[in-house]
Symmetry: C2
Subunit: 140 residues, 2 copies
DNA sequence: ATGTCTATTGCAACTAAGTTGCAAAGTGGA
DNA sequence: TCCACTTTGCAACTTAGTTGCAATAGACAT
């Protein structure tokens, strides 16, 4: 855990985010959890940290490419740790999967969009694809 | 407009939805508008109808395949009229486009999903694909 | 016409996610 | 130590959507 703390502080320094107490705690949680999460998840995990602080912490993380957001349609914005192949320079665009039973949300390996027939003179700038179904744990 | 009223009542009867005053008004508005809309749009258009009634009306419409919902990520659920090729029997699955400038949301012609690489033993049951960019009106 | 029954509507209060202003506390440098 | 700047907590707010309940409107029978 001490090694984890160092690891986490290093990650923050790498992205030029000042490693404060809250940020260390939150990032450590994210790394150990390894799955997408919502602010409610964090509120449960850290009942002493105010939700506004959590939102602001995650906004800072997002702006510095530590996490990306996922709108999976469940009503709560999800966040997931960015991987090395997922930073702003290489356009961290990929798709996601939400399990309709357990509610977990997963990042999927990067896939190209099919060519979609658009009305004339429409231009695509980004896309949000969320697949829904059953994850390995919940599939029968 | 009288013909529109009859038209709208006919549509409701067709789907076994009792044509009440509110339902006639709302459905007429939808048909004439011809674009996806939010409950806020309806609240503006009908300032005497309570929002709970509007939500309930749309839920009724949705359950009877008069409209389908679109989660375009703007924070307000959108609704669009179902077309003949868009009813529950033929699985009204298709994708959508949201203009980032004017905020309009459009239904796209039905397209097949590409084969997406999933983790083992995951099963896709549905999908939500929203493309974002500029519509014809807003594209330069 | 009158009463009765049921579905619809309006109203008000509520929930939940997310935001914001501001003051208190922390951090780090001169 | 003192000062400046950043982070955090708190409370109040915003907005989409929901819910319980009472009022109302039809539909239909008498
Ligand atoms: Mn992801
Ligand atoms: Mn549609
Ligand atoms: Zn699952
Ligand atoms: Zn537009």
């Amino acid at each position: 855990m001490s090694s984890n703390n160092l690891n986490v502080e290093h990650k923050l320094n790498e992205k030029s985010v000042k490693p404060t107490a809250v940020r260390n705690l939150v990032l450590k949680y994210l790394v150990e959890r390894g799955k997408a999460f919502s602010v409610s998840d964090l509120e449960e995990a850290f009942d002493t940290i105010d939700k506004s602080t959590l939102f602001r912490t995650l906004k800072t993380f997002e702006q510095n490419d530590l996490v990306h957001t996922i709108d999976d349609g469940t009503g709560k914005l999800k966040y997931a740790l960015c991987t090395s192949s997922c930073n702003s320079s290489t356009d961290h665009q990929h798709f996601h999967f939400t399990c309709q039973k357990c509610g977990e949300t997963f990042c999927l390996p990067k896939t190209e969009l099919p060519s979609i027939e658009l009305p004339p003179n429409f231009a695509i700038l980004e896309s949000n694809l969320v697949l829904k179904g059953l994850c390995n744990d919940c599939n029968t």
